[in-house]
Symmetry: C2
Subunit: 479 residues, 2 copies
């Protein structure tokens, strides 16, 4: 590299960029690999800072590398093959709701305890990505510090330290919460359950994105709610016009959106959409339940905002948890229910009295002293690399024409195969080969997405995973 001949100054940066591109192309540099720092490039190539920066800018422009905040530049994708993104969904909402294949959902839940499966079906981080030793230390501290070592019921609204931390943390997404605005729950689904029970009655309609996390559909149905599935874009989330029409038709009692890194679509609503949605909700006086469990796991420069960031009238019930970032089994979540706070607290008391005292305290301490931010920084890097590797492997191994979402955060990819593909049949075949994923059909009540699947990348990338995706791709081919 040091002997690289320099012909004309204006092409210098391009030469550097091309040599790196070649290394990526031939596999010398792999996805997720860190590139030399700008300073190092200057020294190695004997060029100025501006030339080195320009070279990296060129590679970034081609989406071959990317800068990660406070960390440097990383290889992003392989140039040989680019995959299309699934088109905006077109739910039909005909003849009421048609139900989900419950048996498949049950089997996916049961897969959790099967040690022989590679689980691409769960949108949670694997053990190895969690700060387990630190949480254990926190538990010992909590037993020492809590009155009665945490055996007693905690305060009805939840651990006050935890509520203070969440309020403080809300500054990262432009929130302006106070301790007293927050109610803790046993996880985010538990928070959503309290919100839906507080806001709806049997027969009411809840509007959601399409596709949507199957747990939300199950909960809504068990509460006797009708579900209105809205067209949703894999990049920008719910289609504002469709939502607007539904609200104008007076069809909707409550709206439930996963605004950031939607599960399963990976979409993130642009800030302008978030603002518009809140404005619409206010105009029609329809509450918005915002599920923001993935917001902290962003791959870009900063924490995306929430709809709640634009909420001035208290119409947004903002839900979150640490189940995607610290410890699903701790059952620690929360909601800032806006003007519906008293009603939500009542549901919490009636159905559960209180949440688990000890685990709430552990998480409170973890959030308090900066460990959370450090942990998140590592987690995001790992997931980001894993996400890019998955996309690369899908491009390489899956049938021609496969489309895939390109989320800039979260845990899951939405994969769309050929129209004729049947991912439930593929699931059956995959499980026989010890791979579990989530077929598209379970993410709707409308007989759609039969050719889609959700793949979770909540694990550290490895050659074994490459083999798994290769095998899955092969099964999709012969399908």
């Amino acid at each position: 590299m040091k002997t690289l001949a320099l012909s004309a100054k204006e092409h210098l940066y391009l030469r550097i960029a091309q040599s790196i591109e070649r290394q990526i192309d031939t596999g010398v540099l792999k996805i997720g690999d860190k590139l030399p720092s700008i300073r190092m490039v200057c020294r190695e190539h004997g060029v100025s800072m501006s030339t080195a920066t320009q070279a990296y800018f060129e590679l970034e422009r081609k989406a071959l590398i990317e800068s990660r905040p406070q960390s440097g530049y990383y290889v992003r994708s392989c140039p040989r093959k680019r995959l299309g993104v699934p088109a905006t969904s077109k739910p039909v909402n005909r003849h009421g709701n048609e139900g989900q294949p419950e048996d498949i959902i049950t089997r996916i839940y049961q897969d959790i305890s099967r040690k022989d499966l590679t689980l691409l079906s769960l949108s949670v981080p694997s053990d190895e990505l969690l700060p387990i030793a630190k949480l254990n230390k926190g538990m010992v501290q909590a037993m020492r510090e809590l009155p009665g070592s945490g055996t007693a019921y905690e305060d009805i609204q939840g651990n006050d330290k935890l509520r203070r931390d969440i309020a403080r943390w809300s500054f990262t997404w432009g929130g302006n919460l106070e301790e007293n605005d927050i109610v803790t729950t046993a996880g985010s689904m538990n928070a959503i359950s309290f919100c839906l029970m507080a806001l709806t009655e049997r027969g009411d309609t809840v509007a959601v994105e399409s596709p949507v996390y199957f747990g939300i559909l199950q909960l809504a149905q068990s509460l006797g709610l009708k579900v209105l599935e809205l067209p949703t874009n894999a990049c920008t989330g719910v289609e504002i016009d469709a939502l607007k029409k539904a609200l104008e038709r007076n069809q909707v009692k409550v709206c439930l959106l996963i605004s950031n890194f939607n599960n399963p679509l990976g979409s993130r609503m642009p800030d302008s959409h978030k603002q518009e949605v809140v404005r619409l909700m206010e105009r029609h006086n329809v509450p918005l339940i915002e599920d923001d469990i993935y917001g902290d796991v962003y791959f870009g420069d900063s924490r995306p905002l929430c709809c709640k960031s634009f909420d001035e009238s208290g119409i947004v019930l903002w839900c979150g948890s640490v189940s995607k970032t610290l410890a699903p089994g701790y059952r620690v979540g929360w909601v800032a229910p806006g003007k519906f706070k008293e009603e939500v607290i009542r549901r919490k008391i009636f159905h559960s009295i209180s949440a688990t005292t000890l685990t709430q305290e552990v998480i409170a301490n973890f959030l308090e002293n900066g460990r959370y931010e450090n942990h998140l920084r590592r987690l995001r890097q790992t997931l980001h690399t894993s996400c890019l590797q998955y996309i690369r492997a899908i491009a390489e191994y899956f049938p021609e024409g496969t489309k895939v979402s390109h989320p800039d955060g979260g845990f899951v990819l939405w994969v769309e195969l050929d129209k004729k593909a049947d991912t439930i049949a593929l699931y059956e075949k995959a499980v026989r080969h010890k791979i579990s994923f989530a077929p598209g059909r379970i993410f709707t009540l409308q007989q759609q997405f039969n050719n889609c699947m959700r793949l979770s990348y909540g694990v550290r990338w490895s050659d074994k995973l490459d083999d798994t995706l290769k095998l899955l791709g092969k099964l999709a081919h012969t399908h």
Copy 2:
């Protein structure tokens, strides 16, 4: 004592009994004091085993002392004053449900975190009665042994070791459960919530005892259920005839009973009643939710049976927890839902995904190795003594004509003052004197029990408590 003169052999046992009665009467022996063993009485008085036994039998007959299993004889009550037991309740169930004074309930919940109050309002054991050091050790063990130190979701139906323990433990009450019959939950109210949601729809009627734990009324109302309050006896629980009539009138969708040491009445259904109730439920095909959280805290010789003990068709949903015996803040409960298992599991998944992994494991280990039985033995002794002291203090300090339940287990006394008394006003006055209790009015939707109150004795007896009850009695007088 050794010089006690003996005149005639047939009166020998009476003399011994009288001398002990005198000691109780003059306060030399206090409630809860342990008496010398039969063997010791023989040696001290130079009498035969049969004479000593006869003496204690005489005292037992007069309810002055009582035998406690594997422990010996204890002073039970003072003979000078005996209180009547409240009469069987006569709920009116007119014009639908009239609601509860929600503000009082909210204030009672808020009292929990007030350190300056003496809380006679909570039916939970105080810290000092819990095996906190052992639970903490168990937590360290659980973190060491669980995969991922308990950060991961647990099995959907719940910790299998815990379910096995509960199944094994069911032999103590004539249950015949298997691990697979049980679903764990975040406490007993959480179990009841899943049962009610699985079995009812808005507008259905749930039949309950009257008075009944206010949390059950709140939950039922928030689910849009009508509540049918049934006449209930302070000793034998729900009136079978009334239940029968309600079932025959086809009024009831589901029945919810606290069969053992009912909260707030303290009643325990005789086995024959339990059997009859199950038979009625089967005949009318109405499910019974049995809340058995107090069953392990019996003062008699053995664990009382449950309705579930007589259930052969799976119509009883038996709920329990360790919130009354080990750790309320752990949120560990369970239900054996009989033939409604799948429906209950679905509610658990939809509303909460799973319970807290770590605390379930700690409780599982605690139940496994006999520590639970040892702990319960001590807990029962302490609560029994405390219960008797409360009754003695109420007899001594409360107005003439006061009635009180005489539970043989559980955590609470039901006190009935003069008809004109207003216990909500008394509550206001008591709180100003730093005493909190639960006014009777919150245990019904029917504008009753205004002269009643529930007092919890879930604390170790002390002179300070005697002062508290003295003060409360004084306030009730001047009322």
